[in-house]
Symmetry: C2
Subunit: 195 residues, 2 copies
DNA sequence: TGCATTTGTCAACGACCGTTGGCATATGGC
DNA sequence: GCCATATGCCAACGGTCGTTGACAAATGCA
C-alpha cells in the first residue's frame, strides 16, 4: 500500500479525542450562547484545555464554528408515504430533530446565530435550499416548491424559536401531541394544499 | 409654580435633537446588526458625534438598547370584527408593523437580538404576554388563550425571521396577497379554530 | 460684557477578544 | 534508552470594546 497519508479510519490517537472534546464543547456553547456570545477561551475552559489548542486544532474561530454548525436534517422521503400524512410526518421529524437523543444541536447552533452572523444565516439558507426545498419538490409542483418550502420553514423556524430559543412559556408547555395536532395541518396545507 | 424641574413638554433644546439623532442611529443599527454587533462607536459615528456623548445622554449601552427596543404593536380589537376575519386581520396588521411606514424597527431590534441577548429575549416575552396574549384572550377561551397566542406567535415570528431577518428568497418573494391567503387561515385556526 | 451652564472633543483606562510563537512535556517507534 | 514527533501550557501581541474624566467651545441669561 503506497498511500498511508490520507483517510486513516482507525487510530483513535490521543489528539483525536481532544479534538472531539473541543468540538463537543464548541457545539454546546455555540448552541446556547451563539457565535458572538461564545469565546474561544470559553470553549477551551469547557474542554479543560488551553485556548491556544483550540486554534491549533481548528485554525480559527470561524473554522471551528463551521465545523460545529453542520446540519443533516435527514428528512424522510415524502413521496412514499400517505399524501394526507405529509404534514404530520414533517412535524414529527421536527420534534425528533430538536428533542430526539440522536440529533445534535446543529440547528440550534445555526438558528441562534443566524440573526447576527452572516455566515450562519447563509448556512441556514443552504439547509433550506438543499434539504427542505428538494423534499417538498418531490410532492408538490416544482414550480412553486420554493414558495411551499418557504411557508413550511417559516412555521417550523418560528416554532423552534419560540419553544427552544426564546422559551416562550405557553409554547414550551405544549405536548408533542398538541404540537402535532395543531401544526401538522398547517404544514399539510403549506406543502400540498390547494392553491 | 414651585415645580419646574420635571416634565417640561416644550423646549426642543439643542440637546433633545442630538439625543433623538443618537436614538435613531441606535435603532437603525440595532435592528440591522443586533446588540453585540453594534458598538457605541458605530452609533456615535452614524450620529456624527463623539462616542462619549452616547454615554452621557444614555447612561450605558444597556440603557440605550432598552430605550431603542420599545415596541407597541397596536393590535386591533379583535372582538369587534367579524369572527371569521380574525386571521386575516392579524396578518394584515403584521405586514403593517413590519413594512408600513409608520411603525418603527422595534420588533426587528428585539427579534434580531433575542437569540443571544437575554434582556431582548425577556422583552420579547413581555410583548407576547402583555400585547399578543391579551388580544387573543378577548376572542378565545381565556383558559387556553396562552396556547393559542403561542401558536400565533410561532407562525408570525417565524415568518418575520424568514422574510425580514434571514431573508429567505422564496419568502421574500411572497406578495402581500399570497401571505394573507396562506398565513391568514393558519392564524384563524390557531386563534379561534376548533379544539 | 461677564459668567454659569450646556454641549462637545479628546485621550486614556481596564477588560476581553482572537491569534501567535516559544518552550516544556509526554509519547511512541527504533 | 534515544530521539523525533506530537501534544500541551504560557505569555504576549494588537485590536476592539464600554466607559470615564479632564478640558475646550458654545450657549444663554444677568
Amino acid at each position: 500500500m503506497a498511500f498511508m497519508t490520507e483517510n486513516q479510519p482507525k487510530k483513535p490517537s490521543k489528539s483525536d479525542r481532544t479534538r472531539a472534546q473541543i468540538l463537543e464543547a464548541a457545539r454546546l456553547l455555540f448552541a446556547e450562547h451563539g457565535y458572538e456570545g461564545t469565546s474561544i477561551r470559553d470553549v477551551a475552559a469547557h474542554a479543560s484545555i488551553d485556548p491556544a489548542m483550540v486554534i491549533r486544532y481548528f485554525r480559527s474561530k470561524d473554522e471551528l464554528f463551521a465545523r460545529a454548525a453542520v446540519v443533516d436534517l435527514q428528512l424522510p422521503a415524502l413521496r412514499v408515504i400517505d399524501r394526507n400524512a405529509i404534514g404530520e410526518t414533517l412535524i414529527r421529524r421536527f420534534l425528533e430533530i430538536w428533542e430526539g437523543p440522536a440529533s445534535g444541536p446543529g440547528m440550534a447552533i445555526l438558528l441562534r446565530s443566524a440573526t447576527s452572523n452572516e455566515f450562519a444565516a447563509e448556512k441556514l439558507r443552504d439547509v433550506f435550499g438543499n434539504q427542505v426545498r428538494p423534499v417538498i419538490a418531490t410532492v408538490a409542483d416544482p414550480a412553486d416548491a420554493g414558495r411551499r418550502a418557504g411557508l413550511v420553514s417559516s412555521q417550523l423556524l418560528g416554532l423552534a424559536m419560540c419553544r427552544y430559543l426564546l422559551r416562550l412559556p405557553p409554547v414550551v408547555a405544549l405536548s408533542h401531541d398538541e404540537i402535532i395536532q395543531n401544526v401538522g395541518p398547517t404544514l399539510q396545507r403549506y406543502a400540498v394544499g390547494e392553491a
